[in-house]
């Protein structure tokens, strides 16, 4: 079976230890996490985990129902690739002196990234994108010398009025 990147949203209790339960399950069952992001929702008692996993449809089914057995998990939804919006925030710190600074700023502008910190020897770029854009920007910046970077992991929602409330995978 062919593997593709899947985007899965999971609604969980906003409690200590919940993330450990979910990630422990992924790790012990050998599901490979590509990206993971967690934050509270409009209901402060509930957090939303967005996880990206490279897997086939059998493993995806396993993930849904294994995760669903966790007491702290309420809903799981697999987001359709063509019917979702997704974003990731990335901060990249690049070496930049007087000679290279202009070139780096030009690149950042093309990617609609922002410069959020600037010193005589370095600058920090903020980029919001769907993941692939981040990789492309990184490739362009590498020759200048990337000092460090941080990514939030991808968060995603369905397009239109559809939401995780419409998911068939309810585990209450």
């Amino acid at each position: 079976m062919t593997k593709t990147m899947k985007t899965i949203s999971i609604l969980v209790d906003n409690e200590a230890g919940v993330l450990a339960r979910v990630t422990n399950l992924f790790s012990r069952r050998g599901y490979n996490i590509d990206s993971l992001a967690v934050g509270t929702t409009d209901d402060p008692a509930i957090s939303r985990i967005t996880v990206r996993v490279d897997c086939d449809s059998r493993v995806l089914e396993q993930i849904i129902f294994q995760v669903g057995k966790l007491v702290c998990v309420h809903k799981v939804k697999v987001l359709d690739d063509s019917m979702r919006v997704s974003r990731e925030l990335t901060l990249i710190k690049v070496k930049a002196d007087e000679a290279s600074r202009g070139g780096i700023i030009d690149i950042a502008q093309v990617f609609r990234a922002r410069i959020i910190d600037l010193t005589p020897d370095a600058l920090t770029i903020e980029l919001t994108g769907d993941g692939e854009k981040t990789d492309a920007l990184l490739d362009m910046l590498r020759p200048y010398g990337v000092i460090e970077m941080a990514r939030t992991g991808i968060v995603a929602l369905d397009r239109g009025s559809e939401s995780i409330a419409d998911s068939p995978y309810v585990f209450d």
Partner: protein
């Protein structure tokens, strides 16, 4: 009321009359409460926490209610880990309660501190790291429900010492409002437990109608759902013979013609023939673990597969099912039977009667004097012990022999470690099973390896005056591992010859338990009869030969 008192009163209100455990520094106040309530709740202290864990497991398997097991922090908690994993693998409801160090010390590597919740994340159905009275109330009022609903399993309540020790005004109200879990709730759509879907039933009926040679694999989920009668009714109407997994043994009557007995390496000829020739496998309450799936040729055999399981995550996990019902076995089978007009009354394509020889297909050995053939051991024990037995086993060749040769039916109860294969499970588990079912004669079959792993619990058997009948099948080797070495290691029997010099009868008598060395089947029968008659424990050591490969 302090946290400890709250725990004990919740247990009493839930109907727990026996708990197993071992005291220690962080659970002092819990043991103080148990002392105060000793006329209402019995505490059985074992020799080792692992023994407590297996005893609570055996208690739960026998009673159908959660077992309770208590241990202190640090080593007390880590000694439970094998027992927790064992309960998890076999879907057994056990509430494990551990003390932990004081809230303010957690995370500082203080004396006897371990992160037991973290260590057991993957082997518990749920767990609580209790650090406040609120969390204790939440944990203790939902523990049993979580254990018992959907697919059953163990939970862990890890309580900081200060929460156990300190009073909270909230406990009184919480105890007052607490409504014990009732068995009838399990059927009302709790987590992963759903009524069968009509479309799913149609899909299954369609495959059965197409099939010429359907075979049922009956797992432990059938008995757990109390669906033994539905299963045989279904098998008869579909004309399907039935194989059982280790967890499913005892679901059908041993003389039922459709009952082909145990599947796996020790399966009889009828079961092997059925697995080879069937065109449809209907797995009911059987999770098709790798041991079962490989044997049934499910992966490569081109057979169709129907799965009926309470745990939706088991569907398609190992092998893709052609149709399935994600529901408790009883509800699913009733749903099928209600609509089985199209398949009803089919003639079975294979029954055990079609085979003249014994279902096991195992040959008698040329035995030396003083050795007894395993089949003769089982026959003698059966004669001596009578009917409606609790039969427990340890893990190893003797376990597969017991499951395939000892006549076990719905009136009996077979207790064995299936998924984890825990050597040393037997004595602890049979202690718990005997306490849960004191009216039944309880027989444990153990190998000499597993017996030596857990014989410290003979002290518990003696202290609690439990009339257990323990048969040590002494073959002088770790037979199952030896068998693998014969096949895969060029007959280099590394460390599997036990060379035990232990005099088991004398060892037992030093524990205050009668120990007998039986040299013939007659002596076994007599020793069993005497122990049953006098209602006392006995350990019967029998020299025997166990071989695992006759059928290969």
């Amino acid at each position: 009321m302090n946290g400890a008192e709250f725990i004990v009163r919740i247990l009493i209100k839930s109907g727990s009359r026996t708990v197993f455990g071992y005291p220690g520094g962080t659970v002092l106040s819990l043991y103080d409460s148990l002392y105060r309530h000793r006329s209402e709740i019995r505490h059985v202290r074992t020799s080792h926490e692992q023994g407590s864990a297996h005893a609570a497991d055996g208690f739960a398997r026998m009673s159908g209610k959660p077992g309770v097991c208590i241990a202190t922090s640090g080593p007390g908690a880590t000694n439970l880990v094998t027992g927790i994993a064992n309960a998890f693998m076999d879907s057994v409801p056990v509430i494990f309660i551990t003390g932990n160090v004081e809230h303010s010390l957690i995370g500082t590597d203080s004396f006897q501190e371990v992160d037991i919740v973290g260590m057991t994340l993957g082997i518990t159905k749920h767990s609580w790291a209790v650090r406040s009275p609120d969390m204790l109330i939440d944990a203790m009022t939902s523990a049993e429900r979580i254990c018992m609903t959907g697919r059953r399993g163990p939970v862990l309540v890890d309580v900081a010492k200060d929460v156990l020790d300190c009073d909270s005004p909230d406990y009184t109200d919480a105890l007052e409002m607490f409504e014990p879990f009732s068995q009838t709730e399990t059927a009302c759509g709790a987590k992963t437990e759903t009524a069968p879907d009509e479309e799913e039933i149609s899909g299954v009926l369609g495959l059965i109608a197409e099939s010429k040679k359907p075979l049922v694999i009956c797992g432990g989920g059938v008995r757990q759902a109390g669906a033994g009668e539905e299963l045989i009714e279904f098998a008869r109407s579909a004309g399907a013979p039935v194989c059982q997994t280790l967890m499913g043994i005892g679901t059908l009557e041993p003389d039922e013609p459709l009952n082909l007995g145990l599947m796996g390496a020790m399966a009889g000829k009828a079961a092997k023939k059925a697995l080879n020739e069937c065109d449809l496998i209907i797995a009911v309450g059987a999770r098709l673990g790798n041991k079962v799936a490989d044997i049934s040729g499910l992966v490569s055999g081109g057979k169709k597969l129907v799965q009926i399981d309470a745990d939706r995550a088991e569907i398609n996990k190992i092998v893709k099912a052609d149709a399935y019902i994600a529901s408790d076995a009883k509800m699913a089978l009733r749903g099928i039977l209600a609509r089985s007009g199209g398949i009803a009354g089919r003639k079975p394509w294979l029954t055990r009667d079609s085979f003249a020889e014994n279902v096991s297909g195992v040959q008698k050995h040329d035995l030396k004097k003083g050795f007894v053939d395993p089949e003769d051991i089982f026959a003698a024990v059966k004669k001596g012990a009578g009917n409606s037995l609790t039969v427990a086993s340890d893990v190893g060749l003797h376990q597969l022999y017991t499951a395939s040769h000892f006549p076990l039916g719905p009136a009996d109860r077979f207790i064995s470690s299936g998924g984890l294969g825990t050597m040393g499970f037997g004595i602890g588990a049979s202690i718990g099973a005997k306490i849960a079912g004191p009216e039944r004669t309880t027989v444990l079959f153990a190998g000499d390896g597993g017996f030596m792993m857990s014989m410290n619990e003979l002290a518990t058997v003696a202290a609690e005056k439990l009339p257990l009948i323990i048969i040590v099948m002494r073959n002088g080797e770790l037979g199952m591992v030896r068998e693998m070495q014969r096949k895969y290691c060029g007959r280099r029997y590394s460390q599997t010859k036990l060379g035990l010099k232990v005099n088991i009868p004398r060892l037992c008598s030093s524990f205050g338990i009668d120990g007998v060395r039986a040299r013939t089947a007659v002596e076994i029968e007599q020793a069993v009869k005497d122990a049953v008659c006098e209602n006392r424990a006995v350990v019967i050591e029998v020299r025997t030969v166990l071989r695992g490969a006759e059928n290969d």
